[in-house]
Amino acid sequence: MNLPDNGIQGLIGQEAGWLKTPDSDPGVVISSRVRLARNLAEHLFPGRSEQDERSLVREEIRKASSSVNYFGDAAFFDLEVLTQLDMTVLWERRLISSDLMDKKNGTGVLVGRNQSLDLMINEEDHIRMQSLLPGLDLIEAFRIVDQVDDQLQQRLEMAYSPEWGFLTCCPSNLGTGLRASLLIHLPALVRAKKIEKLLNQLECQGILVRGFYGEGSEVAGDIFQISNRATLGRNELEIIENVERVGRSLMEQELETRRYIMDRARRQTEDNIWRAFGILANARMLSTQEYLELSSSLRLGIALELFPRRRLNALNKLLIITQPAHLQIMLDARMEAPERDGERAKMVRAIMADFV
């Protein structure tokens, strides 16, 4: 990726690879992510080390990553020199965690492969690398990040014990250091009030669930994230296949519930979706929360063939660019919430103008 002087602008100008849902995908699972945590054997963990050591670690990792195929054209961002707003853009694009934003000193992130691969340096662990793909494809996401790991390990000695595998700052990431997660859109299960019971059952299957967007215990936009709890005692594929199996089962139940809703309550459902469209196409102010909720109905509308399938990518894109920091950077203006709500509504109206 060729980045101009302003790397953040470059990222915004490029459509992230994971936003392009393949046409064959039913669109229930929005994205698949596999993350690996690693630490260099010879250094203290970032939370325990002084800034000099963290900077040293960062250099070692950057040097090693230059020989990783997938990072051939990667962009590097030094969080020490980014503004809060720029960092928030990285966070809104799911490239860094809020932990990394808080730490700053000695941290950085490498972004490659059309933003579908990135490596955070000196977050809780020295290395947190993740591969992010559209739709349900954890195995491919793992294959990519596993290759990066292999190539890094040719140059760097990672902290490892035969008993506990790869050693991490928090014992909850021990072993494989692998967290596989799916972002999954379950509007029909939410509307049919089946969701809570279903998600509660997942806990016994070793799966963690949380709302992805939302305030407090509320979930906005009917989007959930599921991931594995344990990282030790199973191999990588077992972990991934378990999450994938659960994701597939949720997807099938969602699709079945959509058919049920359309059988029993087609008119109400369609009315609800068209009303959401009406608001999005006409509103003069939209908060992020309201946008998320209404766009969930549109996403459902695409699945029910009320809108063309190819609009899904426009919705994915809006999910990212309607967030507060993106709005401000794209419009090159510092804005308070009411102003942002106005600009957000304008942006959404423009897309809705030829959505149908």
Partner: protein
Amino acid sequence: MICDLCKKNQAVMRYTEVRDSRNTEYNLCRECAELKGLAKSLNLALSSLGDMLAGMIRDISSEQDDDNAAQCPKCGLALTDFKKLGRLGCPGCYQVFNASLKPLVRQIHGINDHLGKAAPASGKIKAAPSENRVERLRQELQAAVLKEEYERAASLRDQIRQLETSGAK
């Protein structure tokens, strides 16, 4: 109270973030709260690993009181620090605190043995991922045909063909 993020404005709200395995509390001003946005991944309160971990660490604390003074020679972390923070200081900590960590690790993961990928230096042969993408797609194709989802079946068939031809090259 001053905002924990910008360290400038007056904080107006208290905000608990649950990420991965930790609760972090912030006092935020209006602006920073907005900027963090509601897109913050907030917990569904269904299953908070953070709470679970804290509980477990408390459990082992009562069992293992004897070596609380133990300290990692490399990073200086004491066992009591770990019990407070839930975080280790360096790879060496795992050796020093092995006895105290064992029951905790077992509680988190249900097991104490690493079965995944090995580090090259360990001399173990890397377990080759047995997955076969084409095989997996074939299974999906079969399922799709059985369910009479022909459109999906057609697209799966295309994907298989594509993979097979690209593999043949």
